[in-house]
Amino acid sequence: MNKLKVGVVYGSRSTEHDISVVTAIASIIKPLELSGKYEVVPIYIDKQGFWYSDPKLKDIALFSSGEIDNWLKHNRPVQLGIGDGLSLIKPGIAKKPLKIDVVFPATHGTHGEDGELMGLLEMANVAYVGCNMPSSALAMDKALAKIVAQESGIASTKYVWFYARDFSDNAAKVLNSLAHLRYPLFVKPVHLGSSIAITRVKSEAELKNAIEVAAHYDNKVIVEEEVQNLIEATVPIMGNDKLMPALVEQPVTHGDDFFDFETKYMAGGKKGKGGKTNGSQGYSRLPADLPKDLMVKAEQTALGVYKALGCSGIARIDLLVDTKANQVYFNEVNPLPGSLYAHNWRAAGKSNVELVDELVKLALDKYAQQQKLSTVFATNYLKQY
């Protein structure tokens, strides 16, 4: 019996390109192969946006050694067939297109996690893992995600968003619009993940510099008030209709810095007492050090956000908890958590193999549901012409 072909898509034109490669190879391709159920097809998008597929691209050493640049020079990209499902057309004469049964997106950040890839997959009418195009696009826009969550009664800390161009055109006007916010503030590019270009500021002089940094990366900037008595919490959730949260996890910040890119992915954070995990996600406390009522509130808030944004498959909801005011604020959604947050799922009793296997099943379920929707509406509209 032919195995289901799962195409794992990773890389792409994103500041999180390298993290995507690690997520794809270590946390998705390996466990999919270990399950023995699937034929795994690596689909790598390079930093220029060209798509490649070759078994060699499953080898992390190709990337970690830097040999990938040389490999790309000697290999040609594939073309995509999107007529009836997704097919990879390899270069060469009379090569038979390779039809992909399920796509497993592993792209972080822009041109992938932000809904663009999902739009292409919707057009191709192929099953795929994770959030659909609208929910991915919402999740990747920190301002829109807060607006949608607020409509469902989910609180966020006070914030203001604006276009980078507004600031370059009239900085004074933008700064004036931020005057009611209470310092310290966080300045963030609206669409980027992994804490890239996020700055904590304590004065207006710092604020201007921080906005310039955020605007260097993104065309939209959000400025938020810091939550007092803060404990950060994050909740990975899986499911389409029936939702299953993993454990409420507490990222552990680093001194007067905060959870920046290097802490998250490179340095591993500052060592502390037991009860913490260390891996590609840095240091965190699992489960979070929260009283029971706040733990429940955090989980309920996360589930509410997941539903409000129409997430499916998997997503991770980040929360900010004011432990004195007993208030849980929604911070942001990560529609493709780095390394799928496999360490949390493992702690919640789900192995990497079970995790990816269930995500593929959820993708097939969602696809089957969508196929039931009618896309035809009979009219005599054209005949009138």
Binding site: A197, T199, N209, E212, V213
Partner: protein, 248 residues
């Protein structure tokens, strides 16, 4: 921490409180080179370390830069952060940068520390001539090779003559322009207390350069360490830190 200076995203770190000490790394290096140094200096000073454009996590300039362009950038960086510099510590090319900046008045400081500072370009006329010849013949002899082989061979040729030319390949032209700038006249113009720390067997910057700087900067003090490592602050961190702390 990040800052946009002259349109370039710049990675930097500020730690500690007190008078401001800025540390400038050398060619092909980045701010992390000073990790041990700043851990100690933080106790008494506010230390500022940055990755210069094109190095570490800072964005590379779009045009070819010379030493003066780096000086201008640095001046803008300090203005943007509203920092009044008490002392500058420069290693290797970072030292040349400090000398040029202070001599032109674009950088200001009360004290200067030069660790195996570069910037004396004419003393090795013969070696530079050799570099130019090998660079040119290297290109001539390798132009017909496929890109990757040509690059490997050029690396070997430049490596043989001890050049930093290909340490940062994307800044090759900037490197050529920067190392053409001799700062001996600039050093002569310096009037501030200066501590020179050089290794007696440094293969990259000879002790003779330290002695020449000592002669040029009348207000300088030369400390010679026994060793053959260009990175004196890595090779003998405790000694270097103590010397700097005493001096500052």
């Amino acid at each position: 921490m990040k800052l946009v200076v002259d349109g370039l995203l710049t990675n930097y770190l500020i730690r500690g409180r007190g008078r401001v000490v800025i540390l400038l790394h050398g060619w092909g290096d980045d701010g992390r080179t000073f990790a041990a140094l700043i851990t100690e200096l933080n106790k008494d000073y506010q230390t500022v370390v940055l990755d210069l454009p094109g190095f570490g996590s800072s964005q590379a300039p779009n045009e070819v830069w010379d030493l003066d362009a780096y000086v201008n950038f640095l001046a803008h960086f300090l203005t943007k952060l509203n920092l009044n510099t008490y002392a500058i510590i420069g290693h290797s090319n970072g030292g040349a940068l400090a000398i040029r900046g202070l001599a032109t008045g674009k950088l200001k400081a009360d004290k200067l520390v030069l660790l195996a500072a570069a910037g004396i370009r004419n003393r090795h006329g013969l070696k530079k001539f050799g570099t130019k010849v090998i660079a040119k013949t290297g290109k001539a002899a390798t132009f017909w090779l496929p890109g990757e082989y040509r690059q490997k061979l050029r690396k070997r040729l430049y490596g043989t003559i001890g050049s930093d030319l290909l340490v940062v390949p994307h800044l090759e032209e900037t490197f050529k322009k920067t190392v053409r700038q001799d700062v001996q006249k600039d050093a002569l113009a310096l009037k501030l207390p200066t501590l020179l720390i050089f290794a007696d067997r440094d293969p990259a910057i000879p002790l003779a350069d330290g002695e020449l700087y000592h002669a040029l900067i009348k207000t300088s003090n030369l400390k010679v360490l026994k060793g053959n490592d260009h990175f004196v602050h890595h090779d003998q961190p405790a000694t270097v830190i103590n010397l700097i702390k005493e001096f500052l």
